[in-house]
Amino acid sequence: MHQRTVPCQGYFAPQKIEEALEILSGYGKEIKIIAGGTDLLIQYYDRLYEVGSWLDLKNILELKEIKIHQNQMEIGAMVTHAQLEKSEDIKKYFPILSKAAADIGSPQIRNRGTIGGNIVNASPAGDLLAPLMAYGAQFKLLSIKGEKIVSAEDFFLGPKKTILEPAQLLTRIILPLPSERTYGCWIKIGKRKALIIATITLALVVEMDEDNKTVKEVRTCLGSVAPTPIEIKEIRKMMVGQNFKQLDFNQLGQIVEDKISPIDDIRGTREYRKDVAKNIVINALEEIDSARTGRSHK
């Protein structure tokens, strides 16, 4: 495939991040950054003509890389859902991120849609967001003024709202490599398998101590139950330092149910979401328990 920059007023496809940042700083809000386009072109479906200029990131090859660097993985913002689904490294270290990517849309959507797009689009139902939060992801934001690293938790402000400034570009997603005794579970509830916006999502990641019995760290993150993806921190307080066998899964599920305040919408009522949240937390804990006791290593 040849890579070239289309010379055109109104459409930029630079090959270097630095060029992209220059263009962004010049145009600010007047330019739309396009990655896979699977959200953006729907948003602008009948008013594409309103977009004065496009900044297409497709030619910036370093944004398409998945790399392991020291104790962390760096995923370029242009990595597609299909890449996340198929990457052996992602499957090995971040299996529920791979599973969540496999549950997105359809083959057509997964081949185009990107991790960076899923993040900056900041839908409360964005499928990758709860898993990224559960794995402790950080995002690297660049502008001509410099770089900023921000945690997933601090990045999202509300539905479709983030701290990203018009001149900033999300370039990389940084994930600390988990220990071998890390277990995860991903559950997406929706009305059909393909092309569904989630009614609720759960990403639960538990890291065990060396004895494989004591909980060292846990993150319980949910999507579609609040204006942003959220972590239920009370679960951490209840689980860390405890013997996994002695946990009361029902009680933990109840805490999640009590702590979330979802809305009624076309995809489900508040009450339904609260009930389901409790049940999927219990299911996830059971699944992690059997993974933990089934094998010493994941």
Binding site: V6, T38, S106, Q108, R112
Partner: protein
């Protein structure tokens, strides 16, 4: 919006096309190149009627801007088979009655093509996943599954049981 010129390879032929930054690949194919086998259903990536193969990947051409396809290699339904010489997948669709109104068929055939290239012997679950981005409102899908299974059998026997080669 100012004009720009892009170059793409469509069904094996290099094409140079004048377009705009806000033209969708779907419109470029249908309106500018008159390749009307690619259909517009929902325009939002949900129905798969506009499916084409771009750089080896199944994509919804309604969600691709024409300049994003600059330099790309694209196969549309017009590039499958040739005249009266049908692709085995097309033959199988006809034989099993997998075509009713026909609107989803170009997208379905391209999705099936891509599926069988990657997985020459898909089971029913894999077929369902392979065409999960393509809606059909007539057939109830069963005949489409049958067509893809038939095509898989024919392709693999044609390839000495391996089925790996692209036909």
């Amino acid at each position: 919006m100012s004009k720009l010129i892009i170059e793409l390879t469509i069904n094996g032929k290099k094409r140079k096309v004048e377009t705009t930054a806000s033209t969708r690949l779907l419109d470029l194919l249908r309106d500018d190149l008159h390749l009307t086998g690619t259909k517009e259903g929902c325009g939002k990536g949900e129905c798969g009627a506009c499916t084409v193969i771009m750089d080896g990947e199944l994509v919804a051409s309604c969600l691709v801007l024409a300049p994003q396809a600059d330099g790309a290699v694209i196969t549309t339904i017009e590039g499958i088979g040739g005249g009266n010489d049908l692709d085995p997948i097309q033959e199988a669709f006809i034989e099993t009655g997998a075509v009713q109104c026909g609107f989803c068929t170009p997208g379905m055939i391209l999705a099936a093509k891509k599926l069988l290239e990657e997985n020459p012997h898909p089971d029913e679950e894999e077929i369902k996943r392979g065409i999960s981005g393509n809606l059909c409102r007539c057939t109830g899908y069963q005949k489409i599954f049958d067509a893809i299974k038939l095509a898989a059998d024919r392709l693999s026997s044609r390839n000495g049981g391996k089925g790996e080669e692209n036909v």
